[in-house]
C-alpha cells in the first residue's frame, strides 16, 4: 500500500509518542520507588501494613470485579450499574445489622451477626440486579453496543438517586462487631482483625463461586453461553435463564462485597458504589475481562498497588500528601493496562468478535 510522507510522519509521531509515554511511566515508577526506598522513610512494618490493607481492600475489589467479568463474558457489555448493586447490598445489610444490633444479637453471636447480613445483602443485591436486567438491559440485547452501555449509565444514576431519595444524602455508620475489633498478632506483626476477616470471607465466597462455575450444571451452562450463545441455545440451554442467573450471582458477590466494605470503612452512603465500581472494573480489565480467576488476581493486584503506590511511587518524587492521589493511581493503571496489554494479565488475546 502506498502511503504519503505526511501519513508516515504522523504514524511515526504517534508511535514515538506512545513509546515516550511508556518510558515516562516506567521512569516515574522506577525513580519513585528507588528514592522512596533509599530514603528509608517507611519502616518494614509499615510496608506490611500497607500490603495487608491492600489485600483486604483488593479482595473486595475482586468480589465486585467478578460481576463485571461474568456479565462481560456472556453479554460483552459493561454493567455500569454494578457499583450501585454493591451499594445496595451495603445498604440492605446496614438496616438489617442495625436492627440485629439493637436486639443485642450481634454481640451475642458475632459469627452469625456477620453472616446473616451478608446473606441478606447477597439476596437483595441479586434481586435488584435481576430487576435492572429485566427492565434496562434485556430489551436491548441485540442493539448496537453503545445503546446498552448508555442504558446502564442511566440505571446507575437511577439507582444512586433512588437510594438518595429513600435514605437521604447522609452517611450511615455500620454497626461495629465487637469481636472483630482489635488486632491479631502473627509472627510479631499486629494485623487488624477486621481486615483478616474481610480477606478470609472474600476468599471463601470466591471459592464457592469457583465451585459453582466449574463444577455445577449451571456453571457449565454459563461457560457454554459465554463461549457461544447460539450454539448453547441449540444444545438445549435456556440462554435467558443463564443470563439472569449470571447477573444474580455477580450481584450477590457485589452485595457481599458491600458488607465487607462497610465492615472496614464503617460507612454506608448512596454514592459509595461509584469509586469501588470503577476500580473493580479496572481489576476486571487488569486480570483479563471475561476471565474469572483473572478478576480475582486483578483485584488483589490493584488493591495492593493502590495501597503501597502513594508511598512507594509518589512519595519518592517529592509529592506532598501522596495518599490524595491514591485513586489517581488506580485510574492511571486502568489507562496503562488498556495501553500495554488490553487482554489483561490472564486474558487470552481477544478476538475481534469478543473485544
Amino acid at each position: 500500500m502506498r502511503t504519503t510522507l505526511g501519513e508516515r510522519l504522523t504514524d511515526w509521531a504517534i508511535s514515538g509518542f506512545m513509546w515516550g509515554f511508556r518510558i515516562l511511566i516506567v521512569f516515574i515508577v522506577v525513580y519513585g520507588t528507588f528514592s522512596t526506598l533509599s530514603s528509608g522513610k517507611y519502616t518494614g512494618e509499615q510496608w506490611i501494613d500497607f500490603i495487608i490493607f491492600g489485600i483486604s481492600q483488593g479482595s473486595i475489589y475482586a468480589l465486585i470485579a467478578l460481576g463485571y467479568t461474568m456479565v462481560y463474558g456472556i453479554l460483552r457489555m459493561i454493567n455500569f450499574a454494578h457499583g450501585e448493586i454493591f451499594m445496595s447490598g451495603a445498604f440492605s445489610a446496614y438496616f438489617l445489622a442495625t436492627w440485629l444490633d439493637k436486639m443485642g444479637f450481634i454481640d451475642a453471636n458475632p459469627a452469625l451477626g456477620l453472616i446473616i447480613p451478608i446473606l441478606f445483602a447477597m439476596f437483595m443485591s441479586a434481586s435488584i440486579s435481576m430487576l435492572v436486567e429485566r427492565i434496562a438491559y434485556r430489551p436491548l440485547r441485540n442493539a448496537p453496543r453503545l445503546v446498552p452501555l448508555i442504558s446502564a449509565i442511566g440505571a446507575s444514576f437511577f439507582l444512586q438517586y433512588t437510594f438518595r431519595g429513600f435514605f437521604g444524602p447522609g452517611v450511615y455508620a455500620y454497626p461495629p462487631i465487637k469481636a472483630l475489633q482489635g488486632e491479631w498478632v502473627f509472627f510479631g506483626i499486629g494485623i487488624l482483625k477486621s481486615q483478616v476477616i474481610v480477606a478470609v470471607s472474600a476468599a471463601v465466597i470466591m471459592a464457592i463461586l469457583y465451585v459453582i462455575v466449574m463444577r455445577t450444571k449451571i456453571g457449565k451452562a454459563m461457560r457454554a453461553v459465554s463461549e457461544d450463545k447460539d450454539t448453547a441455545a441449540l444444545m438445549g440451554i435456556d440462554v435467558n435463564r443463564i443470563i439472569v442467573s449470571t447477573f444474580a450471582i455477580g450481584a450477590a458477590m457485589a452485595g457481599a462485597a458491600g458488607v465487607l466494605y462497610a465492615l472496614i470503612f464503617r460507612q454506608v452512603g448512596f454514592f459509595m458504589g461509584f469509586t469501588p465500581g470503577i476500580k473493580a472494573f479496572t481489576s476486571a480489565v487488569l486480570g483479563g475481562i471475561g476471565n474469572i480467576p483473572g478478576a480475582m488476581l486483578g483485584g488483589l493486584v490493584l488493591g495492593v498497588f493502590e495501597s503501597i503506590g502513594p508511598a512507594l511511587f509518589l512519595d519518592g518524587l517529592g509529592i506532598p500528601r501522596p495518599y490524595q492521589l491514591k485513586d489517581a493511581i488506580a485510574y492511571t493503571m486502568l489507562v496503562m493496562i488498556l495501553l500495554f496489554r488490553p487482554s489483561g494479565i490472564l486474558g487470552e488475546r481477544l478476538t475481534s468478535k469478543k473485544a
Binding site: 501519513e7 504522523t10 504517534i14 509518542f17 506512545m18 509515554f21 457489555m77 459493561i78 438496616f95 427492565i135 434496562a136 430489551p139 436491548l140 442493539a143 453496543r145 453503545l146 445503546v147 446498552p148 452501555l149 448508555i150 442504558s151 449509565i153 442511566g154 440505571a155 446507575s156 444514576f157 437511577f158 439507582l159 444512586q160 438517586y161 433512588t162 438518595r164 431519595g165 429513600f166 435514605f167 437521604g168 461509584f274 470503577i278 472494573f281 479496572t282 480489565v285 509529592i319 506532598p320 500528601r321 501522596p322 490524595q324 492521589l325 485513586d327 489517581a328 485510574y331 492511571t332 486502568l334 489507562v335 488498556l338 495501553l339 488490553p342 475481534s352 473485544a355
Partner: protein, 574 residues
C-alpha cells in the same frame, strides 16, 4: 400463544402502577411536588402525579384489553380501566396502612406522616377508602379516553399538556410578564398564582387550547397545503422570517427575564455549546467520552491562570486573548490523552476517558498541584471580558479597569456563549458533510470496514477527540469567566454525564437535538426547584427510557434514525 384474560392483565397493570406510585412517594417526589399547584386550591402537582398514574394505568389497561379482545368493546374497556385504577388505589392505600403500622420512617426517610396525610387527604385512616375510589374513577376516565374518537382525544391531550406546562413554568411566565408592567402585569396576576395557575387561568388555557387544537385539526391541513404550495421565494421568506423571530427571542430573552432566568439561560447556552462539541465525538465518530470534564477543567484553569487578578494568576491578559489559548491547550491535551486510549474500542474508551476525568479532578484538588492551581482553595478573581481596552494590572486582588463595555453580568456572558455555540454549530454542520465527517460516521458504523476502506482509524478518531476537547475547553473557559472563580470540586463527573445525557436524549448526531436536550435536561432542573431535587433520578430514567423507546433521541438526525430503524424500513418495503 395463549391469550391472557383481560381482567387479570388489567389487575397486573394496576398493581404495577401502584408500585410506581409507592416508589415516587418513597423517593419523596409526591411530597415535594405537593408544594406546587397545577391549579390553585383545586389540585396540587403531587396529587396530579398520582391521579395521572392511575389514569394512565386505566388507559393502558384499556388498550391492552382492546388488543386481547381484538377490538374495542366498550363494556370490557371501561371495566379494565376501572380495575386498573382501583388496584392502583388499593396498592397505595395498603402502602399508607403499612407505613402507619410498621413505622417505615425508621428506614425510608420520606415515609412521613405528611405523606400519609397527603395520601388520605388529611383524614387519617378514615380517608383510606378515598384512594381506591378516586383511583377507580380516574382509571375509568383513562379507560373511557381510549374509546373517544381521535378528533376529541387530541384536543384534550393537548389541553392537559398545556396546563401542566404552563403550571410548571408559571413563575417564569409570571416574572417575565410582571416585568413588562401595565396591562400585561395585571393579566399575569389574573392567570398565574404564586404556586401555579389560578382557576381563571386554568380555564383560559383549557378553552384556548381546545379551541386552537380543534381549529387546527379542521383547518390545519389546508394551511399546511397552502404553505407547501407557496412559491420557492415565499417559502424562503417564511423561513427567514421564522429564523429572525427565533433570533429576536434569543437576543431579547435575557433582557426581559431578569437576573435569575438570565443565569439559567447562560448555563443552558453553555451546555448547548459543550453538547455540540461532544456531539462531534459521540454523534459523529461514535466515541463515548465520559471524560469531557477533563478538558472543561483544563480550559477553565487555563483562563483562570491567564486572567485572574488573584494570587494564582500567572498572567493578566484579557479574556479575548486567554480563550483561544485555552482552546488550543485543551486541544493539545486532547491529543496527548487521546493518542494512548483511542486504539481502544468502544466501551473501554468510555471507562478510560472517565478515568482521565477523575485523574484531572484529583490532581487539580491535590496538594501536589496546590502551589499552581490553588488546590481546594481554587482560583478566584477571574477578570470579566471587556470590549475595549483594559487598564494596567496594578496589584493582586485588584481587577484591571475596563475602558469600554465590561461583560460582567450573566446576560452579557450569554451573548458570548451563544455566539460560540453558533460558531460550533456552523463548524459541526460543515464538518458533517465533509470527507472527515463521513470518515467519522464510517468508523461509528463499523471500525473494521472503515479501516478496510483506507480510513486511518487513530488519526480520524484523534481529530474528533481533539475537536471535542477544544470545545470542552471553550465551555470551561466561558464558565470560568461567568462564575469568576474555579474550584476543583466543580469539575465532577456530573458535568460529563450532563453533557452526554443531553446529547443522548436530544438525539445523537443532531444539532437541533442538542438544543432540545439542553433545554430539557439543563433548563428544566435549573428553573424548577422541585425538579432539580430529582434531577439525576430523572436523568437516569430518561437515559433508560430513551434507549428503550427511541434510541435516536427526541430530535434525531435523519441518518441515524434511518439506521436505527433500518430493519423496520426493510420489512416495510419487502
Amino acid at each position: 400463544m395463549k391469550k391472557e384474560n383481560f381482567i387479570w392483565s388489567s389487575i397486573k397493570v394496576g398493581l404495577l402502577a401502584g408500585a410506581i406510585g409507592i416508589f415516587l412517594s418513597l423517593v419523596g417526589m409526591v411530597e415535594v411536588f405537593n408544594k406546587r399547584d397545577v391549579v390553585e386550591k383545586v389540585i396540587s402537582l403531587g396529587m396530579f402525579l398520582l391521579l395521572a398514574i392511575s389514569m394512565i394505568a386505566g388507559f393502558i389497561a384499556s388498550r391492552r384489553t382492546s388488543d386481547l379482545l381484538g377490538g374495542n368493546q366498550a363494556g370490557s374497556n371501561l371495566l379494565a380501566g376501572t380495575l386498573a385504577g382501583l388496584f392502583t388505589g388499593i396498592t397505595l392505600a395498603l402502602f399508607v396502612l403499612a407505613s402507619d403500622q410498621l413505622n417505615l420512617r425508621a428506614i425510608f426517610l420520606n415515609a412521613t406522616p405528611t405523606l400519609s396525610g397527603l395520601l388520605t387527604f388529611g383524614r387519617g385512616s378514615g380517608g383510606l377508602w378515598m384512594l381506591p375510589v378516586l383511583g377507580a374513577g380516574t382509571g375509568l376516565a383513562g379507560g373511557a379516553f381510549l374509546l373517544l374518537p381521535l378528533l376529541v382525544r387530541r384536543p384534550i391531550t393537548h389541553a392537559i399538556m398545556v396546563i401542566i406546562f404552563s403550571a410548571l413554568f408559571s413563575s417564569l411566565f409570571r416574572v417575565i410578564m410582571v416585568n413588562q408592567g401595565g396591562g400585561i402585569e395585571k393579566a399575569a396576576k389574573a392567570i398565574f398564582s404564586q404556586t401555579g395557575l389560578t382557576i381563571n387561568g386554568a380555564l383560559v388555557f383549557i378553552f384556548g387550547t381546545l379551541f386552537i387544537s380543534i381549529l387546527w385539526s379542521s383547518q390545519g391541513a389546508k394551511v399546511q397545503n397552502r404553505v407547501d404550495r407557496l412559491p420557492a421565494k415565499g417559502k424562503l421568506s417564511l423561513r427567514v422570517f421564522s429564523i429572525l423571530l427565533i433570533a429576536y427571542v434569543a437576543i431579547m430573552l435575557p433582557q426581559a427575564a431578569g437576573p435569575f432566568i438570565a443565569q439559567v439561560i447562560v448555563i443552558i447556552s453553555l451546555y448547548i455549546l459543550m453538547g455540540l462539541g461532544l456531539n462531534i465525538e459521540i454523534g459523529f465518530a461514535g466515541l463515548l467520552d465520559l471524560g469531557f470534564v477533563a478538558f472543561y477543567a483544563i480550559g477553565a484553569y487555563t483562563v483562570g491562570l491567564l486572567t485572574s487578578y488573584g494570587e494564582y494568576g500567572l498572567q493578566h491578559v484579557s479574556f479575548w486573548v486567554a480563550v483561544p489559548i485555552a482552546v488550543l491547550i485543551s486541544m493539545m491535551f486532547g491529543g496527548i490523552l487521546g493518542v494512548p486510549v483511542l486504539g481502544v474500542r468502544g466501551d473501554y474508551l468510555a471507562i478510560a476517558t472517565l478515568g482521565f476525568g477523575e485523574i484531572v479532578r484529583l490532581l487539580a484538588g491535590s496538594d501536589f498541584m496546590a502551589p499552581y492551581l490553588g488546590g481546594p482553595r481554587g482560583i478566584i478573581g477571574i477578570q470579566k471580558p471587556c470590549i475595549g481596552t483594559l487598564g494596567e494590572f496594578i496589584a493582586v486582588d485588584i481587577p484591571r479597569v475596563c475602558n469600554g463595555i465590561e461583560l460582567s453580568k450573566p446576560q452579557d456572558i450569554y451573548y458570548v456563549a451563544i455566539a460560540s455555540a453558533l460558531l460550533i454549530a456552523f463548524f459541526s454542520w460543515r464538518l458533517r458533510e465533509s470527507r472527515l465527517g463521513r470518515a467519522w460516521m464510517a468508523i461509528r458504523e463499523d471500525e473494521d470496514v472503515a479501516e478496510a476502506l483506507g480510513i486511518k482509524l487513530v488519526q480520524a478518531k484523534l481529530l474528533a477527540y481533539m475537536l471535542g476537547a477544544a470545545f470542552a475547553g471553550l465551555g470551561g473557559a466561558i464558565f470560568a469567566t461567568l462564575v469568576g472563580s474555579i474550584f476543583a470540586t466543580s469539575m465532577q463527573l456530573i458535568v460529563s454525564i450532563n453533557v452526554v445525557a443531553l446529547i443522548i436524549v436530544g438525539g445523537m448526531g443532531s444539532i437541533p437535538g442538542v438544543v432540545v436536550g439542553a433545554l430539557a435536561l439543563i433548563g428544566l432542573p435549573e428553573l424548577l426547584r422541585e425538579v432539580s431535587e430529582f434531577r439525576f433520578l430523572l436523568y437516569g430514567m430518561a437515559l433508560i427510557a430513551v434507549m428503550l423507546a427511541k434510541p435516536e433521541g427526541l430530535w434525531p438526525s435523519q441518518t441515524i434514525s434511518r439506521e436505527l430503524h433500518h430493519d423496520e424500513a426493510a420489512d416495510a418495503t419487502s
